[in-house]
């Protein structure tokens, strides 16, 4: 008995293109940027510069991976920049008090997770929109950082072990880059093959459905903000270890770069759709553009304009072209 209507089976290659349109598009864009800057400058495509790019991109990458989880649930975390500044400042203060650095790192990671979870609690259990909660967090956390440091930059001295995290090299790779790659791999594994990753996507795709099938939907929503806070703490440690100081003015505009990287990677702000590979490529694209424009001796202020324009372009692509009705061979991407 043939009962349910079937569509003819599509060509596997067409299915592949359709399902990975976003990642393919950003990969293409990334390659275009690399080729463009390699041609325009002599120094861009050198080992030294490439390592420099990944070192600089590492904090953004770490937070962008966590932000992908947040945005997958349909939320957003605007407080990441302030969170990085606060943890960065506290880490420097605590290190100046002479607390052993491994203990400081553990404490900062826990602190980040706890602050993130508090925001998650408001979003998930109290039903306040993530935009509002984390906008408040953006202000409050930066305020705490300023209050604690009184606006001064606090130097970190004589902790070579701590500095290694930001400046060291392992197997010829900058340590922050290695950390960033490890976090990206972890993020990829979590989202594609673990039960938790499946729950995150389910909650973002259809919260009520996830609740009805018995998933701990509220806890999952809250938990992604905890992961985000944790990642912010990691990024703050990377930044303070690289710069050798803690400042309340660190990571200004960081949230913009992170969200731009995630959105550029094809993750939908409506939740449910997104990939870690896209986020990695989005982060690298933004890092490459920033780096390339400087090497081309274009004003660093111009980078902001370009980054903003790219966010707009990415969201435009995301909402207008890569909808569920998108088909290759129909309207071409530009």
């Amino acid at each position: 008995m043939t009962v349910y209507t079937e569509r003819t089976k599509g060509h596997p290659f067409a299915d592949f293109l359709g399902e990975h349109a976003q990642v393919l598009s950003i990969a293409f864009f990334f390659l275009v940027c690399i080729v463009f800057f390699s041609v325009m400058t002599t120094t861009f495509f050198s080992v030294g510069n490439v390592l420099n790019i990944v070192r600089q991109a590492a904090p953004i990458l770490v937070v962008a991976i966590a932000m992908t989880l947040v945005i997958l649930t349909g939320g957003i975390d605007l407080s990441v920049g302030s969170m990085v500044a606060l943890i960065n400042a506290i880490a420097a203060i605590v290190l100046a008090l002479g607390v052993p650095w491994p203990l400081v790192i553990v404490a900062m990671l826990v602190l980040g997770g706890v602050i993130g979870l508090m925001q998650g609690w408001f979003v998930s259990y109290q039903g306040i929109p993530a935009f509002i909660v984390t906008l408040a967090g953006l202000s409050i956390l930066r305020g705490f950082a300023l209050y604690l440091t009184q606006g001064y930059s606090i130097p970190i001295r004589d902790v070579p072990g701590f500095f290694f995290i930001g400046r060291g090299e392992l197997f010829g790779m900058p340590f922050p880059a290695i950390l960033g790659i490890l976090v990206a791999i972890a993020g990829f594994v979590v989202i594609s093959v673990t039960k938790y990753g499946r729950q995150v996507v389910a909650v973002g795709s259809n919260l009520e459905a996830a609740r009805r099938v018995g998933m701990p939907a509220k806890w999952i929503v809250a938990s992604v903000y905890m992961v985000s806070g944790f990642a912010c703490a990691l990024a703050a440690i990377l930044i303070s270890a690289r710069l050798g100081s803690g400042s309340s003015n660190a990571a200004v505009g960081f949230e913009l770069q992170v969200i731009a990287a995630v959105v550029l990677g094809g993750t939908s702000l409506m939740g449910g759709r997104g990939t870690m590979i896209g986020t990695v490529l989005g982060t690298l694209t933004i890092a490459v553009i920033g780096n390339g424009l400087i090497l081309m001796h274009i004003s660093p202020f111009f980078t902001q304009i370009v980054t903003g324009a790219i966010i707009l372009l990415a969201i435009w692509l995301n909402t207008r072209i890569f909808t569920t009705n998108f088909r290759f061979g129909g309207k071409k991407r530009n």
Partner: protein, 271 residues
């Protein structure tokens, strides 16, 4: 109310569960689920005003009524999605109080929701196993889920070519089929279907009706909510009629007809 005018053939709406039942089919004596005095208020709106209902294993109960009569609310209370304000739910003789859908699901109560409750961005396999993913440690056991999903769909005669396709790519009928397969495949004791055939073509409706009969034969208590009254006579053993948040009548299928049902639904007997 209507209760006192009910024909003798109707099963007493407020009767106790040990009432001898006249239906020849599925002669189980203890109800799988028994509801007593269920009340539910949303704001100032009284969605349910004291409903009693028994579901018996191996029997299909049709739940009919006009829009906003309380059918969906009642079914969501059985499935744990809504928590009743008053009244008791008895599951296999034991009084239970569900804290949420997860608990009802653990009590082997499954529901096909009117809106299907599928996750569009997850593939067919993932939706079938949503909320009870097969895992190896923290990891999804994808291979085993695909094998099991294929078996589930085959046994229900549902044909979906690519199990790894995202659900958003599927037709309305296929989506509804997946929602039904998800609810029917995990050995439910109670299966509630809220408008399962609304988006289906003729052939697909036939498949769902034959599915209901097969599930019934396995001893499952089925609740079918539908506006297609003619379908009720194909699969149901008993029909409960809701009106303005109350159950106004219960009829054995052999002792009622379309005209009688329509009268009960619109409340004509009261005029």
């Amino acid at each position: 109310m209507i209760d006192d005018q009910q024909p003798l053939t109707a099963v007493g709406g407020t009767g106790d569960p040990s009432d001898p039942r006249s239906t020849g089919m599925a002669a189980a004596t203890t109800p799988a689920v028994s509801l007593r005095g269920i009340r539910k208020t949303f704001g100032s709106h009284e969605a349910l005003r004291g409903v009693d209902l028994d579901l018996y294993p191996g029997e299909c109960l049709g739940l009919v009524g006009d829009n906003a009569a309380g059918k969906s609310t009642l079914s969501k209370i059985i499935s744990g999605t809504h928590i009743p304000d008053e009244g008791t739910i008895t599951l296999n003789g034991k009084t239970v109080r569900f804290s949420g859908p997860a608990e009802a699901r653990r009590g082997s109560i499954e529901m096909v929701f009117q809106d299907l409750s599928l996750c569009d961005h997850i593939d067919v396999v993932g939706n079938l196993f949503l909320g009870r993913e097969l895992t190896k440690g923290p990891f999804l056991d994808r291979k085993r889920m695909i094998e099991e999903a294929r078996k589930m769909l085959d046994s229900l005669e549902i044909r979906i070519p690519r199990l790894t396709a995202k659900v958003e790519k599927l037709s309305g009928g296929q989506r509804q089929a997946i929602a039904i397969a998800r609810a029917a495949s995990f050995q439910p004791k109670v299966l509630i279907m809220d408008e399962p055939t609304s988006a289906l073509a003729v052939a697909e409706v036939e498949a769902v009706l034959s599915l209901i009969n097969r599930v019934k034969a396995r001893g499952v208590a089925v609740v079918l909510i539908t506006h297609r009254l003619q379908d009720l006579f194909r699969v149901c053993d008993r029909i409960a009629v809701m009106y303005e948040g109350t159950k106004v009548a219960e009829r054995n299928i052999a002792e009622t007809d379309l005209e009688d049902l329509v009268k009960l639904i619109v409340g004509e007997e009261r005029h």
